[in-house]
């Protein structure tokens, strides 16, 4: 037995040790009980019986309320269930609205992108047209000079032919 320095037994330590041993033995005993087929079978039957009794009692209460022309629990539950279902439908509508909103946002983004793309394409086209115009002008200028020389040569040929 644990002893204190003054020679008296340390009752607290003793009681603690005793408690630990008792707890461990009780735990082992409970383990056997709680997993024994007899206990589980009894508990199952007990739970089933209680549930049946509870259901029957509730049914009885509802019938009694019905006879007294009062709303029973079943009536209130039915009403609450309708509210719940309506709430569910509202939530589904909210889902759809959000989905539509997402699509709208997506479309808006696409629209903005396509506008930017269109503007860029227009700009590019304009630049390309400008480049083409510049090239054409250059070509025309070159051709104009060439055409002038060509016309002179043709005139000379014509004159020579007329003279002959």
């Amino acid at each position: 037995m644990a002893e204190q320095q003054n020679g008296f037994p340390d009752f607290e330590k003793v009681s603690n040790d005793f408690y630990k041993q008792w707890e461990s033995s009780m735990t082992r005993w409970w383990d056997q009980v709680l997993e024994s087929p007899a206990f589980l079978d009894g508990m199952g039957k007990n739970a089933a019986g209680y549930a049946k009794a509870r259901g029957a009692w509730q049914k009885q209460m509802d019938e009694m309320a019905d006879k007294m022309h009062l709303p029973g629990k079943a009536d209130l539950v039915r009403l609450a269930r309708i509210c719940t279902m309506l709430e569910e439908r509202l939530l589904q509508q909210e889902d759809r609205i959000l989905e539509l909103n997402d699509r709208m946002v997506g479309l808006e983004k696409e629209l903005i992108h396509s506008r930017i793309e269109a503007a860029e394409a227009r700009l590019e086209q304009r630049e390309q047209a400008g480049r083409m115009e510049k090239l054409l002008k250059q070509l025309l200028n070159n051709t104009g000079a060439g055409t002038g020389a060509g016309t002179g040569a043709a005139d000379g040929k014509r004159r020579r032919a007329e003279g002959a």
Binding site: D10, E12, S15, E23, L40, K52, V77, T84, E88, L98
Partner: protein, 358 residues
């Protein structure tokens, strides 16, 4: 009980504990204190947005968190200094938390399809939209805890591009490796049809009782813990907050619960395959997001083996890591925020950068 203390001190402690419990601390403790805004309502579920702290500097990729359906979300924001959300926002992570709310009797017909393809999909979508508008983020990381993780995993296998990366905390994948729970949840032992038919939803009380019965001695350990650590600074508040959270379960929508237990626990179809959701088979091999699987070493609800089984079936790289603590204690420990922040930093990409690159 520390050794060698005089009995007078113990009597004082007993008196202190009696007064503490008489004041009903679990009813008065304030949990979920981090400021946030609700950005979307989806029937009973809401998406809570926690802005990154102003002092955090760099803004990381936002994180979407799918909480379990059977408890309240406050376990991730239990108390200041014991909050996963506080740690994440403090490091510059915008957090979007899916709080599934409290189903009522009218939700008994809500199916898994409605929860996963409807609520979860929509909430993630709204979170992404919000993050894009506010932080310019085009991508999102996702974190799932327990059943919330199973749903997230199923969703990510169906919609592989929904999130950039995924982390799963104490998430069952191989349900037949879930220890005692898998021994209980068999067609022979568990009257699933009768329970759902009788109760409509799976009742929160029954859920709480079931979890208590999984480890009966855990209840006693709770009281012993209070006795042993009563004088430690901050412990009383933490104990009260845990007590509040533990007793605050929520109902599980009946139809969804039936399909979940049938498919996951009875058939183990998430792991083995063959589960059709909304007419389409759930194939975890189709998942493309890299995953970090975190499991708690002493988890009696989802043992590490059940969580790490994702490695065998997921279609992308899976990294596993074991943390100290149990299924719930891991959420209020120091290791989880550190592991998550490490994961966040490993995939660091300032919000908006991807957008700019695109």
């Amino acid at each position: 009980m520390s050794s060698g203390q005089p009995w007078g001190h113990n009597l004082e402690k007993m008196d202190g504990i009696a007064r503490f419990l008489a004041a009903d601390p679990a009813a008065t403790v304030q949990t979920g204190q981090t400021s946030h805004a609700i950005i979307h309502r989806d029937r009973k579920a809401v998406v809570r947005y926690f802005a990154p702290a102003a002092h955090s500097g760099q803004i990381h990729t936002p994180m979407f968190i799918s909480m379990p359906l059977i408890n309240t979300w406050t376990i991730f924001d239990l108390l200041p200094g014991r909050s996963v959300i506080e740690a994440l926002t403090g490091a510059g992570v915008p957090v979007y938390l899916l709080d599934w709310g409290r189903p009522g009797p009218e939700d008994a017909t809500t199916t898994l399809e409605l929860l996963i393809d409807g609520t979860l999909r929509r909430c993630l979508d709204r979170a992404k939209r919000h993050a894009k508008a506010l932080h310019g983020a085009s991508e999102m990381d996702a974190l799932g805890y327990c059943v919330g993780g199973t749903y997230l995993c199923t969703f990510m296998a169906r919609y592989p591009d929904a999130a950039r990366r995924m982390a799963l905390l104490c998430t069952p994948i191989d349900f037949h490796a879930s220890g005692r729970l898998s021994c209980w949840a068999t067609p022979k032992n568990f009257p699933l049809q009768e329970i759902v038919a009788g109760h409509g939803n799976f009742p929160a009380d029954m859920m709480r009782q079931s979890f208590s019965w999984l480890r009966p001695m855990g209840q006693l350990s709770k009281w012993k813990g209070l006795w042993d650590r009563f004088d430690q600074p901050g412990f009383r508040e933490l104990w009260a907050a845990m007590e509040q959270w533990n007793s605050d379960n929520t109902d599980f929508c009946g139809a969804a619960y039936q399909e979940y237990v049938q498919r996951c626990y009875f058939d183990n179809a998430l792991y083995r395959g063959g589960w059709k959701l909304a007419g389409r088979e759930v194939r975890l091999s189709e998942g493309r997001a890299p995953v970090l699987v975190l499991a708690a070493a002493d988890d009696h609800i989802v043992p590490p083996r059940a969580a790490f089984a994702l490695k065998d079936v997921w279609g992308a790289p899976v990294q596993t890591r074991q943390l100290k603590g149990g299924h719930v204690a891991v959420c209020v420990g120091k290791e989880l925020p550190a592991a998550l922040l490490e994961w966040v930093r490993a995939g660091a990409q300032p919000a908006g950068q991807a957008e700019k690159q695109a």
